[in-house]
């Protein structure tokens, strides 16, 4: 506390601002309040409990009796651990400094691994003031600073007086143009009635409906995309009663599994037939569940556009509303599984900043605000919607440039060659006609896979956009504006050097993309073009 000037705890705006101005002007490294020790202590404890101790629960459970016999030793051990954590927290406190200047925050910390972080105000997207329970009785709080690059990174000022934190927040937010629209805020669950009322009002504000999905579309979506996990996730609480009663239920409907699958009492042909039909039934069930899952999440799907925003509404029980600002879209993905290709459907995705991405189950990913999904549209609809977002060319019918056929050889050498070798050894070792035939088929299939994987790759570049096609059985079309590029990378192995080839990686705020085995000269020229565009025109990426 010695470095900080005591201010009157009355919430006087001027005084706080003066204090903040003083801190900025002093340009000195400041120590936070010693109450930060509590922060470090609880944080370490929290980490220990949820990352270490929770995995040791079985060990404790097994040795419960021993623990009961030695309560003193156990207590001393726990106490020892706590003191270690406390000592660590005190050390952390002593090595933690921050410095405010006119345009940035600096944080210096660490005794063994020292780090010095620089955070320009202009890059701060969100300022959160947090007062954890152990700070409640004091006048202190934590300032949590989010930048687009710091999803998992620590950028906190760990103990600062609350009024000072408020003035700091105001100062930083004056620099931030659009704080309210972080990706997380954009997703919200709305109740049925609320959705209806907002729907009515939003039509007044000139919302145009771009796409709807009918039940037929959702059934197609359920069949072509495995959405069974949504259903299984929702059914999770019932697993145990189901598995307990499965046998009796099946017997009740006249199916005795154990005699049905009795290997000893049946000929091989009948047995295989039984196994096959069971597999078919299971597959059918999976498809049905998948359809239910798809309807569950995408029921009454509507994609509309209101001003500069896409709004997506869907859901059977919980209505989800996700809105995404057009300028935040980083890339557009048209995804097709092999079944989609056969029946001519596309899953369209608008992807935005992935820092701070949802790491939830499939259902929450479907509704996540980072990816706006339009399920199972036709290729024409997909192209039209993509072109609504950006001035793309028709993504699915471009003359894509093929990557070098050397890539087939590379896939064959790795990862295929071990399997080819295995198949060959098996065939020769068994030395029967059947084994030769099997080995031959496996090797041919592997070779064909290499060719197919190469065949799917495609690259196209125009003035403003880059288009990538890739896949194996299915295929993805990815398209994005050059203006969104964050970073580039060129990679070359000795094998690629021989063919004067290189792999291009382009990083956007929604993640990285790779195109392998393009001509080296072309890759370098593309990187130069991307860097020039970004650095010269300085386009905003969101």
């Amino acid at each position: 506390m010695s470095d900080q000037i005591d201010i009157n705890t009355l919430d006087v705006q001027d005084e706080n601002e003066r204090e903040l101005a003083q801190q900025i002007a002093s340009d000195e490294w400041l120590r936070v309040s010693p109450i930060a020790i509590a922060y470090f202590f609880f944080k370490t404890l929290y980490f220990l409990i949820f990352n270490v101790l929770i995995y040791m629960l079985p060990v404790f459970a097994f040795n419960l009796n021993k623990l009961k016999e030695h309560p003193v030793e156990f207590g001393l051990g726990a106490l020892g651990l706590m003191s270690l954590v406390l000592i660590g927290s005190v050390i952390k406190y002593f090595f933690y400094f921050y410095r405010l200047s006119a345009d940035r925050v600096e944080i210096r910390q660490g005794m063994i691994q020292k780090s010095h972080m620089d955070l320009p105000f202009g890059k701060i997207q969100n300022v959160k003031i947090i007062q954890p329970f152990y700070y409640r009785f004091s006048n202190y709080s934590i300032i949590e600073l989010d930048t687009a690059g710091s999803a998992k990174q620590e950028a906190n000022i760990v103990a600062i007086q609350l009024p000072l934190a408020e003035s700091f927040k105001q100062k930083v937010q004056a620099n931030v143009t659009d704080v309210s629209a972080t990706p997380q805020d954009a997703s919200k669950d709305v109740s049925d009635s609320h959705a209806q009322s907002s729907e009515k009002s939003s039509f007044h504000t000139q919302e145009t409906l771009l796409n709807r999905r009918s039940i037929k579309d959702l059934i197609i979506h359920g069949v072509t995309n495995n959405r069974v996990w949504i259903f299984l996730g929702a059914a999770a609480p019932f697993y145990e009663p189901i598995s307990q009663n499965l046998d009796s239920v099946l017997t009740a409907v006249g199916l005795d599994i154990s005699s049905y699958l009795n290997y000893e009492q049946q000929s091989l042909g009948i047995f295989l037939l039984h196994v096959l039909s069971l597999v078919m039934i299971i597959m059918l069930l999976i498809v049905i569940f998948s359809i239910i899952g798809a309807i569950f999440v995408f029921f009454d799907y509507r994609l509309s556009k209101s001003g500069e925003r896409y709004i997506r509404r869907s859901g059977l029980l919980t209505k989800h509303e996700v809105s995404m600002k057009c300028s935040r879209i980083q890339r557009v993905v048209q995804q097709q599984d092999w079944l989609d290709i056969l029946i001519g459907r596309v899953n369209l995705r608008f992807e935005q900043n992935s820092a701070g991405a949802y790491q939830g189950d499939q259902a929450s990913q479907m509704t996540s605000a980072n990816k706006l999904i339009v399920p199972s549209v036709t290729p024409t609809e997909a192209d039209a919607l993509s072109q609504d977002a950006f001035a793309f060319q028709t993504i699915s019918s471009l003359e894509y440039q093929r990557i070098s056929p050397r890539y087939i050889l590379r896939l064959f050498l790795f990862p295929c060659s071990p399997f080819v070798l295995l198949a060959a050894v098996f065939a020769i070792y068994q030395a029967t006609i059947l084994s030769y035939l099997l080995g031959f088929i496996v090797i041919v299939m592997l070779c064909l896979s290499c060719v197919l994987a190469w065949y799917r790759w495609g690259y196209y570049e125009d003035e403003d956009f880059i288009y990538i096609r890739k896949g194996f059985l299915g295929r993805d079309f990815i398209a994005f504006p050059i203006d969104k590029v964050q970073q580039t990378k060129i990679t070359q192995t000795p094998f690629m050097r021989k063919g004067q080839l290189a792999t291009l990686r382009i990083v956007l705020a929604s993640g990285g993309m790779v195109v392998p085995y393009l001509p080296e000269e072309q890759v370098k020229a593309t990187v130069d073009k991307l860097l020039l565009r970004v650095e010269k025109n300085k386009p905003a990426w969101m």
């Binding site: 972080m117 320009p120 130069d528 650095e535 990426w541």
Partner: protein, 185 residues
């Protein structure tokens, strides 16, 4: 032709070049500190020898008697740990001198790799925040690593390892003082 008036020092290449004829093909690259290689080789060999030494001490039954199986298993430990240590030391011997960086007016680059040769290019405009990291051994050797974060996420962090501390500090200053840093969102 544009120049940067407040370029901190001559520590790094920062030529006055027209932005129209820049190419990643003709970057003026600077090497990182040669001490970085020494440290890496030292650590790799040190750690593997340390593991072997512990196994050896246990094997010699000085403090306690180990079961029969242990002496058989220990042979495998030597056979695995030592070659890995030597190989990775060899890798550092050849690969570390290839780590080079370049700083231009608008971007920073890192070239590296013995087998997988890579050039990563990071426009300064897209930098979100910067961190200078120093472990105990790096501090002893007067080195630091500079990490640059973009919106591309943690897995695409641009990092220049093994910089001399003063160079790292002035490079950080160059980036922090860059006018683009207050431009992009």
């Amino acid at each position: 032709m544009s120049t940067i008036d407040d370029a901190p020092s001559s520590d790094f290449s920062n030529q006055n070049i027209s932005i129209e004829d820049v190419s990643v093909d003709n970057l003026t690259l600077s090497a990182i500190s040669p001490r970085y290689r020494k440290i890496n080789i030292g650590i790799t060999l040190g750690v593997s020898l340390f593991i072997c030494a512990i196994v050896l001490i246990l094997d010699l039954d000085i403090f306690m008697t180990m079961p029969e199986v242990f002496s058989k298993a220990s042979v495998f430990v030597y056979a695995i740990v030592l070659p890995i240590g030597v190989l990775s030391a060899l890798y550092h011997f050849f690969a570390d001198p290839l780590i080079k960086y370049a700083v231009r007016e608008q971007d920073v680059h890192l070239q590296s790799g013995l087998f997988f040769r890579t050039i990563v290019s990071q426009p300064i405009l897209r930098i979100q925040h910067i961190e200078l990291k120093r472990g105990p051994i790096e501090r002893k050797a007067g080195l630091a690593s500079l990490q640059v974060f973009s919106a591309g996420g943690i897995s695409h962090t641009f990092e220049i390892p093994g910089l001399e501390y003063e160079k790292a500090v002035s490079l950080r200053k160059f980036i922090i003082d860059h006018k683009d840093l207050s431009l992009d969102e």
